[in-house]
């Protein structure tokens, strides 16, 4: 899933300086599961903001609303009436970067601010602990690397590792960071598949250097979007 981390409180407070009536929009999917931007986190942040602004003699009227997904028009539409009626002078989004932008796009006349920093595509290792596993590079090499992503897990994103900095199974950047290529070798060796990395992985064209559009087979871009 997509994981995110709430922005430092001071940064959020600074962004909202001068705005008197704000809607904080939570997201009920990924950021909710990773404990960053769901209903509960919206309520906590709002309470903090409310208190801080009172202490500064500059009260803020802050509302909270969490929708199922901010990356989906169908759910964003649920906010239309409320936003029209309430005259918010700013929106705060606790969705990932995708959701924040889609919210801002739906209500282009209202300034929209991020409440979180999106940190990647990660697995849930334990409650509250998420580990990045995919950089969504658009050309998956997991088939030849034993199901371990060198683009994400190797600090240099090397396709022909391990480099000379591999350190007793760890990466040169930290003893706590496993060397991806050490792991790849270990797994392929156990599977009797080392041949798959004996060949040189040639230089590849990066597919993530322009904004990507994905249209699944059998579909096309509608002429007009609602």
């Amino acid at each position: 899933m997509i994981v995110a981390k709430r922005k430092p409180f001071e940064e959020i407070k600074e962004m909202l300086k001068g705005y008197k009536k704000v809607l904080n929009v939570g997201c009920g999917t990924c950021v909710s599961v990773c404990l960053a931007g769901g209903e509960k986190e919206v309520a906590i942040l709002n309470a903090e903001l409310d208190m801080a602004r009172r202490l500064e003699d500059d009260p803020i009227e802050i509302h909270g609303q969490t929708i199922e997904r901010q990356c989906d028009r169908e759910y964003l539409a649920e906010l239309d009436d409320m936003i029209k009626k309430e005259n918010f002078d700013a929106l705060l989004s606790m969705a990932c970067g995708v959701g924040i932008q889609f919210l801002a796009e739906r209500f282009p006349e209202i300034p929209t601010f991020p409440g979180v920093d999106t940190t990647g595509l990660a697995v849930n290792q334990a409650v509250g602990w998420y580990e990045e596993r995919c950089r969504s590079c658009s050309q998956c090499v997991l088939g030849i690397t034993g199901g371990i992503c060198p683009i994400t897990m190797c600090a240099k994103g090397l396709l022909n590792g391990p480099c000379g900095g591999t350190n007793k199974g760890s990466c040169e950047i930290s003893a706590d960071q496993p060397c991806a290529w050490f792991k790849i070798h270990e797994r392929l060796s156990a599977q009797g598949r080392l041949d798959s990395i004996r060949k040189i992985n040639l230089a590849r064209g990066w597919k993530d250097q322009i904004p990507r559009n994905l249209i699944q087979p059998g579909y096309k871009k509608p002429e007009k979007v609602s």
């Binding site: 240099k156 480099c163 000379g164 199974g169 040169e172 060397c179 040189i200 040639l202 230089a203």
Partner: protein, 315 residues
Amino acid sequence: MSIQENNLKSGSNLEKILKSGQFAFTGELGPPRGTDVKEVIEKAQFLKDNVDSVNITDNQTAVVRMASWAASLLLVREGLEPNYQMVCRDRNRLAMQADILGAYALGIRNMLCLSGDHCQFGDHPDAKGVFDIDSMQLIAMVKQMRDDAKFLGGADIHHPPKIFIGAASNPFADPFEWRVQRLAKKIEAGVDFIQTQCIYNMEKFRKFIHIANEEGLTEKVYILAGVTPFKSIGMAKYMKSKVPGMDVPDEIIKRLQGVEKGKVAQEGINFACEQIEEFKTMKGVHGVHLMAIEWEHKVPEIAAQAKVLPRPKPE
């Protein structure tokens, strides 16, 4: 004589010495953290006539220094042959190919293709690491530029750069059994010579070379064994514990500790010279790469003690 007549790839001094079967001896020079040309020239004087080629490091340990190509050209001007190091960390394939063309046009003939230390080690730890291509792919790219006269993107190169292609190999990094395989991949990518990581664990290195010999790799590539003399016990301990991929056996530290204070540096040099003596006769080793880190002024003395002087002067 032209490159073609001799069937040379680049015609560099280093290539000629290696091709003639003579034992090569290369050195290293770190560019300054500023614009002082004098500093480079002074260091270069200690290397002149004592080594066959001088590696010019490229923002080593991810610390900003004078550009490797620029310091390389200063050496060319002084009559030394540089081995231009290029890391994948700081530039993408466009910048790399552009730099290679410029470097060759101005007289650079050897290159060492490296991944590069992670930015986190250096003085700009949050810099974006480029790694558009990796060291393996860089080797293949330089070979394609030289032998096929084609850029990585496929377009023709007019007057392609005839570069003698080098790369690094670390016989001590894990997993050990993969090190020779990775060397084989670099050979397949097109490397002409290898300079190894600093060797201290001779036993392990002998094993590495033995496997490389068995697999016929040392007939396909020239191997220069990496030697860095210890200046002090502190340096040895630092290399052992802090430098990733370095293998410093305790016996060497004990050996340094066993001599009187003031004689540790000489003992470090003695050990290095004993290593060089062994490398001279080790099957599969074609030379030594001496990395006297910030100790360039000791190179004449080390070269003399290691009995590698005078250096051959190919035509």
